[in-house]
């Protein structure tokens, strides 16, 4: 076994914090990356097109 309660708490209070911040930063970079703007705008508009057939 060897893993104590204190060790788990230490891990979650350190690593847990940093991976969450790191992950959030990654998301923000992805969202605001300039070349992604066009993709997002296209996606937002695409659902409004009235096609009703799968693309084959």
């Amino acid at each position: 076994m060897g893993v104590t309660y204190d060790e788990v708490v230490w891990f979650s209070k350190t690593f847990g914090l940093f991976y969450l911040i790191g992950f959030s930063a990654l998301v923000l970079v992805y969202v605001y990356w300039p070349s992604n703007k066009a993709t997002f705008e296209r996606a937002a508009a695409a659902i409004l097109h009235d096609e009703d057939k799968p693309c084959r």
Partner: protein, 557 residues
């Protein structure tokens, strides 16, 4: 339904049904002296009906290759009908339970009709029956349209839908028989849980296979929410239901966890059921049906991605706020409280994004009750997420916990947000799915809207009042340092609010029944609209408003 399956799929369907029927027979035999035996028979009989159903359509001509030129909407149609049937049952039992609080004699001296058995019938029927079926039905619909790909085969989506309904049926009938593992929102016992794992993993695989076949390079944000809903619910369900049955012939099982770990696992599950079942999936609905109905693209697609990851990251840690002032370590309680407060940011971002999408379409909100359902849902989403963050703060929770305030909060979310967005989406999707020009009666949609809104407001305000009075009565001391009121004193003080709540629930139920009738009539009698090609999706009746082109996104590169 069978006519849409290929010959091979019909054979596989028969094999599955026979295997599950044999399994049911085995359970019935092993559990002949246990309540589980009844479930064995139920499974077997339902599967035998299924076998006859498949055989009756077995020699029908196979679907032509042309089917691949259209989306596969049969599971969505069946899902919407089942969803409304569960809504009628769930809302009816809910209101029955509400009247039971007013007059306890309404159990009619029957064990199955006792409060403790009826209440989970209500919660399961509305959350999993009504909400779950609507989520499955709309997720198939949205996934196909946004990916421009047909579902990978005809059988597995039907298996998911019908298998899921078998789970719901086992759950609800089990409670009436007294079968429960007494974990909130996870009451069904081990065998039903195992069945749901099979069904849910198939659901996930169907979704991934459709995604793999997509023709759109970018995955539309609604699908992210649906995917999070499917994936996380699988995780939660499996971990929280880890247990060891007494025997294969017994419905009873014991959880792998005990004491405070059990409580923490349960509320990690319980709160994330709120997060990923009742929020993520329905946000997926919102992000597709609201822009579509309003004829405007999302206010900010970027914001929708940020709120997606915000909700996914933060909700995971919020569950411990259900266990304030318990044996749970103080720091875990504080963690849950802090994350719950932070959750307000992505929650309000989603609500604001939805409402700002409506800028420029408010005249439609005024004229179209379907869109108004969605708008009110976004408002209640904002309201109840604020309330949730607030109630998670430890000192506030000291007043609110164990009182009707919690019940009021849950229903602000469940009636105001979840049910409103579902009804809005259903009224939008029904004419599209059945190729009708519009709903049978727009006026009845309007009637449903006002009944639902009035019912919700009456319900929630009654519970706010009674909850805060309860909380205050339970913490009022006399000059000699003893409690000023007994529990029964507070119960008597609640009676007027319980009557008001039951009336609010009744209005909501009547609204739901009006909806069932309207949808049924649309399916049965409305004339066929213009058939497919070019503009297959009939616009809302309001598309005729002069000077407002239906859908005109400004920039598409």
């Amino acid at each position: 339904m069978i006519g849409q399956l290929t010959r091979t799929e019909r054979q596989i369907a028969l094999v599955i049904l026979i295997c599950v029927a044999a399994f049911g027979l085995a359970i019935a035999a092993a559990g002949k002296d246990d309540p589980i035996g009844a479930h064995g028979w139920l499974i077997m009989v339902l599967c035998i009906f299924g076998v006859f159903g498949v055989i009756s359509g077995y020699f029908a001509p196979e679907p032509s290759e042309e089917r691949l030129d259209s989306y596969y909407d049969e599971p969505s149609r069946v899902g919407i009908v089942l969803s409304m049937a569960w809504a009628a049952l769930g809302l009816f039992v809910g209101d029955w339970v509400a009247w039971l609080m007013v007059d306890p004699a309404l159990t009619f001296d029957a064990a199955w009709a006792s409060y403790g058995r009826l209440r989970p019938v209500h919660t399961t029927a509305v959350i999993f029956g009504f909400g779950g079926n609507a989520l499955i039905a709309t997720s198939f619909y949205v996934m196909q349209r946004t990916s421009r790909a047909r579902l990978p085969d005809q059988l597995s989506p039907l298996f998911v839908l019908l298998g899921y309904n078998l789970f719901c049926l086992l759950a609800v009938s089990g409670y009436l028989l007294g079968i429960t593992q007494s974990k909130e929102y996870a009451e069904p016992e081990w065998y039903a849980d195992l069945w749901l794992v099979i069904v849910w993993v198939t659901y996930f695989v169907v979704y991934l296979r459709t995604l793999a076949r997509r023709k759109e390079p970018h995955i539309y944000v609604a699908n992210w929410y649906y995917m999070a809903f499917i994936l996380v619910v699988a995780m939660l369900h499996i971990v929280n239901n880890l247990s060891v049955p007494v025997s294969f012939g017994s419905a009873k099982s014991y959880s792998l966890f005990s004491g405070v770990q059990d409580a923490m696992t349960q509320w990690w599950y319980g709160h994330n059921a709120v997060a990923f079942f009742l929020t993520a999936g329905f946000l997926g609905m919102l992000y597709y049906f609201l822009p579509k109905r309003a004829g405007r693209p999302l206010f900010s697609y970027r914001l929708s991605i940020i709120s997606f990851w915000g909700i996914t990251f933060l909700y995971m840690w919020a569950g411990s706020h259900h266990l304030h002032y318990t044996a749970l370590p103080q720091w875990v309680q504080t963690l849950g409280m802090t994350f719950s407060v932070m959750l307000l940011v992505p929650s309000w971002a989603s609500a604001a994004n939805a409402l700002l999408t409506l800028n420029g379409a408010w005249h439609r909100v005024r004229d179209d009750a379907t869109l108004r359902f969605m708008m009110v849902a976004a408002v209640f989403y904002g309201l109840s997420t604020f309330e949730g963050s607030f109630m998670a703060i430890r000192p506030v929770n000291a007043l609110s916990h164990y009182t009707d305030w919690t019940v009021g909060h849950v229903h602000a979310g469940a009636l105001g947000w979840v049910a409103m967005i579902t009804f809005g989406s259903i009224y939008a999707i029904v004419p599209w799915l059945w190729k009708r020009e519009r709903m049978h009666s727009d006026r009845l949609v309007e009637v449903h809207f006002w009944l639902a809104l009035a019912g919700t407001i009456i319900y929630v305000i009654a519970m706010w009042n009674s909850g805060i009075i309860q909380g205050l009565m339970w913490r009022t001391y006399s000059t000699s340092g003893t409690l000023a009121y007994s529990f029964v004193d507070s119960l008597i003080a609640m009676k007027p609010y319980y009557i008001a709540r039951a009336i609010g629930g009744l209005l909501f139920l009547i609204g739901g029944l009006v909806g069932c009738y309207n949808i049924w009539m649309t399916i049965r009698t409305a004339p066929r609209g213009v058939s497919e090609p070019s503009i297959a999706i009939p616009e809302a009746p309001l598309a005729v408003i002069p000077g407002r082109p239906g859908a005109a996104p400004q920039s598409a590169e």
